[in-house]
């Protein structure tokens, strides 16, 4: 393999790795939006909190990784449950902008909380993935990125299967499609809201651990959520497929522009893409506006 091609392959593989994490974050966002029509801007901060929870359990309390990881994910779930019951449900029926602002505020509160407890300095998570690189063919990839990619792919696969084959997945999609009709079928709609927030925030927290394992954690890592927001707007706010394709696509594009054009082009290209998509397809590449039957 020529050097150029090798370099391209390595960049592409790294892009797929970060793309998988973007897809996972986007999935967390889409899950909550689909079920409850709430735009959760605190998704990035939930992700950050997941990283810090893992730090607290693994480094602070000295728990082994196999215990600290599920605990961090569960912590995200608990946060989701509390937020849904305490902040979102009382806002039911209020204007979407108000609910949206509540999630913005929630994000700031989470950042403040983490800074109070752990300080503002970046931290590294206790290493639970070996540093030895993986070679795919001749291409070199960091093992952490490979692990993150596989974990994200597994979680996404499980989600897709659940949505399709689990009865609760049908309840979730039914609620997303028509809330009043879901009630009329005996579906516990508030219960569905709760579960969507719990699973969504748990997913974000788990993603935060993976992301932190690669690049360390800091109170400002919630910025990652902004890229995920681009993914869901491009992919369609309510489209799981859009989250996956958009996540991987954006990961690749960011990796390619970062390596070939330079880091300063990353945001230009990312947000340029956002604008072009919105002009051509305002509801996202895969978002539904409504089925139109002729």
């Amino acid at each position: 393999m020529s050097d150029d091609l090798l370099f391209f392959t390595e960049v592409t593989l790294a892009g797929l790795g970060s793309g998988a994490l973007l897809a996972l974050t986007a999935l967390s966002f889409v899950l909550i939006y689909k079920a409850t029509r709430v735009i959760n801007l605190a998704v990035g901060e939930t992700l950050m909190l997941g990283g810090y929870l893992f730090l607290a359990f693994a480094a602070g309390m000295g728990l082994p990784v196999w215990a600290a990881l599920p605990l961090a994910i569960a912590g995200g779930g608990v946060l989701g449950a509390i937020v849904e019951r305490g902040l979102i449900r009382p806002m039911l029926g209020k204007s979407p902008i108000s609910v949206f602002m509540v999630t913005v505020g929630l994000g700031s509160v989470l950042v403040g909380l983490v800074e109070m407890l752990w300080g503002t300095d970046p931290r590294t998570l206790p290493g639970f993935i070996a540093n030895t690189p993986v070679f795919i063919g001749e291409a070199y990839v960091s093992r952490k990125i490979v692990v993150a990619f596989i974990a994200a792919a597994l979680v996404i696969g499980v989600f897709l299967a659940l949505f399709r084959f689990w009865r609760g997945g049908v309840a979730l999609r039914a609620t997303a499609s028509d809330q009043a009709a879901a009630y009329s079928c005996g579906i516990n709609v508030p219960g569905v809201f709760s579960i969507a927030w719990i699973i969504g925030c748990a997913t974000a927290a788990g993603t935060g651990v993976l992301l932190g394992a690669i690049g360390g954690i800091s109170p400002s890592m919630g910025i990652f959520g902004l890229s995920a927001l681009v993914v869901v707007i491009v992919g369609g706010l309510d489209s799981i497929l859009g989250a996956l394709i958009g996540g991987l696509g954006l990961g690749l594009i960011q990796a390619w522009t970062g390596s070939y054009l330079g880091g300063e082009y990353q945001s230009v290209v990312t947000f340029g893409l956002l604008i072009v998509t919105l002009v051509i397809r305002p509801y996202g590449l895969f978002g539904t506006h409504e089925i139109e039957r002729l």
């Binding site: 029926g93 009865r167 049908v170 309840a171 999609r173 039914a174 997303a176 499609s177 028509d178 809330q179 009043a180 009709a181 879901a182 009630y183 009329s184 079928c185 005996g186 579906i187 516990n188 709609v189 539904t288 089925i291 039957r293």
Partner: protein, 274 residues
Amino acid sequence: MAQGQDASDPILQVENIEVIYNKAVQALRGLSLSVPKGKVVTLLGSNGAGKSTTLKAISGLLGLEDGALSAGRILFDGQDISRMRPHDLVRAGLFHIMEGRRIFEDLTVEENLTAATFALSGRGVARTPFDLVYDYFPRLHERRHQRAGYMSGGEQQMLAIGRALIAQPKLILLDEPSLGLSPLLVEEIFTIIGRINRQTGVSMLLVEQNANVAMAIAHYGYIMETGKIQLDGPTEKLMHDQDVREFYLGHGGHGGEKSYRNIKHYKRRKRWLS
């Protein structure tokens, strides 16, 4: 005026309910009706009379539209249900087929039926086999893996009724099943609705604009206007009532040329005073 029928064993009793939307607009003003076990009762009335509101008040879906029950009470199977959550009501056996069918468009036919199985949660009954629905509506079987949103209006109405069958209810509230369907399909659907009532013994409260078809399958009828019942009686009797024939069944009562202008004028002068 509405002195109620022989209510020996009603599944549903609505007593003097009032409904207010947005804390300002009163939609129902002291409405009462009752549905005997195993019977089909129809609720007729013109646009905006409050028929759909009545059904939503019973099934608890008013809250979703910022409406609230401000007076009266509703008894289902002898139990006051005015404060029950809508999904708990469904699980207690009261199924509301909403106006406009309201099927889950992004889901397949089969998934729509699966969604209705939540109505059986906590009841300790076996899951209804989907074949029950397919026996009544063979066309749904052909389309079971198809996205429901792409089906015709008639098929969507069949699916909406099919979901009710899955829920094994004691009472079905049916809101305008004829809406937007061709006359032929209306007849087909109403024949099946009548058959479901006879074969499963489920009670029904049927709201319709198309009074002719509704009267054909109902045992008892109520006629409402601006939030109140104005007239009620067994359907055979209503069908021979001069005013009902003229206003709801489309038979001119006064002979001679029929013109919209005359009817409107007449209607404005004489409302349901008797």
